[in-house]
């Protein structure tokens, strides 16, 4: 598709020319909009979540999925070798995603799928889907999620795979959940992998961290019960409000390519597919973690138990994004200071908070790293 801004006409510097340029550009912009409108009207369905999976357990709005290895990939469940020819990792991987947005970001489309890459590396992959909580779930606390749902899912995976422990892989807020779980139930976690995970909430270089500190979370939770997705999305949009405009202007020039358009729409689908947040859990996450920084202070209470990061003695792989504007490195890397693990590794992946999962470099780097690291510790 042509560029939006026309540079035709050699004569410059007079009003007539300027008016012509303005009119041409306006026409060009509207022409692109018209084409986009036409292309978008034909879109009936934006397919996301490309890998085959089956639900093996559910409780209300929470589902646990087991992903299937592709037929002929040589990496089916129980095989001794992965598709890449490496020895198979026997301990299954349980992915714990954040409550914010949907977990299919890890399986967006066949060529942008961390799940697919992990399967190809011979790992058995399970994933928790937190679903869309309704008003009936607004009382759920952090403890209900971690000691309840995560623990239930770990038990189901252990039974399904006939193992005693799982490899826990937590993403963003799900990484915080996984870290807390590993501290509370260390015997159930063989290895802990955290991806772009906030740990130390006292850092000063993340806007969400700064904003959350001033937030009156009680007012919001008391009013809504389930905190609406729009409230969270408004915050995410304000992180880079101008770059967002540029993104859409860029997309305007590419929507005549169906494949690129669908790639763009899948990301858009994911960005705005945001479940509401169960109020009590949200209240505790903001008040105890963002505002109180109780996880690293060792004073976070879940039910009657106190979370002690020193209990995390299993091997830890802590992966962070080089240009993460949502969870700053300082917050992520702080984990090393507080865990009791001797086998601990930081690993930097190029890209932003989302890019490390869907970017082309990440596709080649992240899954092989996770697989080889786990293989050495299986």
């Amino acid at each position: 598709m042509s560029k939006i801004h026309s540079t035709e006409h050699a004569e410059t510097g007079n009003t007539k020319h300027t008016q012509t340029m303005v009119l041409q550009t306006m026409s060009s912009v509207y022409h692109h909009l018209l084409q986009s409108l036409s292309a978008l009207q034909d879109v009936k369905n934006v397919d996301v979540g490309s890998s085959e999976k089956e639900c093996i357990w559910e409780d209300g709005h929470v589902w646990l999925y087991r992903f299937r290895h592709k037929v002929g990939s040589g990496a089916k469940q129980g095989a001794t070798k992965s598709a890449s020819g490496k020895g198979r990792v026997r301990t299954p991987v349980l992915i714990v995603y954040a409550l914010v947005n949907r977990p299919y970001m890890l399986d967006l489309q066949p060529d942008r799928s961390l799940v697919q890459q992990l399967l190809l590396q011979g790992l058995d992959v399970y994933m928790i889907d937190w679903g869309y909580p309704t008003h009936f779930e607004h009382h759920l606390t952090l403890d209900d999620y971690i000691s309840g749902f995560v623990d239930d899912c770990v038990s189901v995976v252990c039974r399904d795979a006939d193992v005693q422990r799982v490899n826990l892989v937590g993403v963003c807020q799900g990484g915080t959940f996984s870290t807390i779980y590993a501290a509370l139930f260390p015997k159930k976690v063989r290895n802990l992998i955290t991806l772009a995970t906030p740990i130390d909430f006292s850092v000063k270089d993340g806007l969400l961290f700064r904003w959350a500190k001033e937030m009156n979370v009680d007012a919001v939770v008391d009013a809504f019960g389930i905190v609406p997705a729009e409230v969270l999305n408004a915050g995410f949009i304000m992180l880079k409000p101008f770059a967002r405009l540029q993104k859409y202007m860029g997309a305007l020039q590419t929507l005549d390519d169906e494949e690129r358009m669908m790639n763009f729409l899948r990301m858009e689908q994911w960005i705005f597919d945001s479940p509401g947040q169960p109020g009590e859990c949200y209240r505790q996450f903001i008040a105890d973690l963002y505002q109180g920084n109780k996880l690293v202070k060792g004073s976070l209470q879940l039910g009657r138990r106190t979370v002690k990061l020193q209990n995390i003695t299993m091997p830890v792989l802590n992966v962070y994004a080089a240009e993460d504007h949502i969870v700053p490195h300082n917050s992520t890397k702080a984990l090393q200071k507080y865990v009791g693990a001797e086998d601990y590794e930081h690993y930097e992946i190029p890209g932003g908070h989302i890019g490390i999962f869907v970017g082309s470099k990440a596709q080649k780097e992240l899954a092989p790293k996770i697989a080889s690291w786990l293989q050495e510790r299986d």
Binding site: L33, L40, L140, R210, R244
Partner: protein, 515 residues
């Protein structure tokens, strides 16, 4: 350099005036609402009307005066009368710290318009000759109305073009040429707005979902892009041609009143019409629930709607519209008070009046907070614009003029991200944002409360019913879960094969397969 002669100062004065005006309006309005509601509750109609009328009149006078003052906020700075010695400050190069080139007159409009002029050709190419005619998208039923409407605008452009052609040959004075340019800008903007409205209507017909949302976001991005393009194109073209800039070019770039529209579009501030619509919907719902049973509530909601309409209507900077709103308000105010005075209030009505009063007060609080918030964004937007202007002119001086507008747009995005990131990092911003969320949440609670009171006698499930049930369900589920865990842990304790380190937590017994 005098205090009033810098672009910064003028812009800040504009935004400060805007904020003061909004705050004064809100304070006056809130006061009137409080007084009238209090008087209503006491049944003192005459007193309520007296205070209410006085307060509203004062509000209107203030609003009309300040709106007039706002009409040309940057004019004084650029006006030839602005300087004590009669010279335009815009002609004083020292007033622009980033410019070291003197302002000079440039040959403008030196060729007449004709049917063959490139602008008309572009227009005709775009619409009259219909480049999309052979395109399959023309088969699309949504495109046709748009094309028809666009074609309908052609005569308007032609008429303007003839006027421009006639005028161009005789307009020698710079001011007249600038005026023409301004007229042209208005015309192109009107066209742009009408086309965008059409697009927006077309988006309405798309199935709701990601494609529709994406299109709306693109429309929004294009809107900002075009607003900027219109402002920047004249200056960029001059820079490319190596010709110096004059005051009008800078005025177009730096005018805060116009730039406010850009910032409004970026942050998608809720415009007055949307707020009015929201209040009307709320009011209509309330009225429909009460129509047969509670006239007082209906009257109260009518008052609220009118008051809200007034306050949001004022935000449009249109004094004439404000006068109309005022007249409507006063008429319904009198009607409402005369009716309510004839009705005895029961307890439910009193409760509703009290909550209604709280909502009015909260709306005032919200309006003030959002005004401060917007002010902060406007002034920072202006700061970024000035930084960008400085950088662009510096590039021009170094013979590195930008070659197309996409580069300008990219620079604009980058500089704004930088400036706004600095702002967003401040505690002041975080507190302000948090305050807005808090007031909105309280307002939401107030409306919930109002509905609860109204729905009390109806066989309808209310929020508190749902909350109560949800709590019971949650507590029962938690008990079941605890029992299941306890059972699992007990069995695990009995199994010697299971390792045990932290008491209960070592069990790997799976919970019941609930699928």
């Amino acid at each position: 350099m005098s205090k009033q002669s810098t672009p910064d100062q003028s812009a800040n004065d504009f935004y400060s005036t805007w904020m003061e005006r909004q705050n004064a309006l809100v304070a006056s309005w809130a006061n009137a609402a409080q007084q009238s509601t209090a008087a209503m509750m006491q049944g003192n109609v005459a007193e309520a009307m007296k205070h209410g009328a006085e307060a509203y009149t004062a509000t209107m006078e203030h609003q009309t005066a300040s709106a007039k003052q706002m009409m040309n906020p940057f004019g004084a700075w650029f006006s030839p009368q602005a300087s004590p010695n009669g010279a335009s400050k815009a002609n004083d190069a020292t007033t622009f710290p980033f410019m070291n080139v003197p302002f000079m007159n440039i040959p403008f409009m030196n060729t007449p318009f004709s049917e063959a002029n490139p602008m008309m050709q572009a227009w005709q190419n775009a619409f009259r000759q219909n480049p999309f005619g052979q395109n399959p998208i023309m088969q699309n039923p949504f495109v046709q109305p748009w094309m028809q409407a666009a074609s309908g605008a052609v005569p308007g452009f032609e008429q303007w073009s003839k006027f421009a052609e006639a005028g161009a040959s005789s307009f020698a004075m710079m001011g007249q040429v600038a005026k023409m340019y301004e007229q042209w800008q208005h015309l192109s903007q009107s066209w742009s707005i009408s086309v965008q409205k059409m697009y927006s209507s077309m988006a309405d017909t798309m199935p709701a979902g990601v494609a529709q949302d994406t299109f709306r976001n693109m429309l929004s991005g294009a809107n900002v892009y075009m607003k900027l393009f219109e402002r920047w194109m004249p200056a960029l073209e001059l820079m490319k041609s190596g010709k110096p800039l004059k005051a009008e070019d800078l005025q177009s770039l730096m005018n805060p009143a116009q730039y406010k529209e850009v910032i409004d579009a970026v942050f998608e501030f809720m415009i007055p019409e949307q707020m009015q619509s929201l209040v009307k919907q709320m009011s209509a719902f309330t009225q429909s629930m009460n129509v047969s049973t509670n006239q007082a509530a209906r009257i109260l909601m009518g008052q609220m709607e009118q008051n809200a309409s007034m306050i949001f209507g004022m935000m449009s900077h249109n004094p004439e519209a404000a006068v109309n709103v005022y007249n409507t308000l006063m008429s319904s105010y009198q009607q409402a008070l005369s009716t309510i005075s004839a009705l005895p209030m029961n307890q439910r009505q009193s409760e509703m009046v009290a909550v209604g009063q709280e909502i009015l007060s909260r709306l005032g609080e919200y309006s003030q907070a959002v005004t401060k918030f917007q002010h902060l964004l406007y002034t920072n937007g202006q700061k970024a614009l000035e930084k960008m202007t400085e950088a662009t002119f510096a590039a021009g001086r170094n013979k590195k003029a930008v070659s197309n507008f996409d580069e300008v747009f990219k620079t604009w995005v980058e500089m704004n991200e930088e400036v706004f990131h600095d702002l967003f990092e401040t505690k002041e911003y975080a507190v302000m944002q948090s305050n807005l969320a808090k007031i909105s949440s309280h307002l939401y609670n107030n409306f919930e409360h109002l509905f609860e009171i109204m729905l009390k006698d109806f066989p309808v499930v209310t929020r508190s019913h749902v909350d109560e049930l949800a709590k019971t369900v949650f507590e029962l589920k938690r008990k079941v879960r605890d029992l299941e865990k306890h059972d699992a842990y007990s069995e695990a304790d009995a199994e010697p094969t299971n390792a045990k380190s932290n008491g209960k937590s070592t069990s790997t017994k799976a919970p019941a397969h609930k699928k």
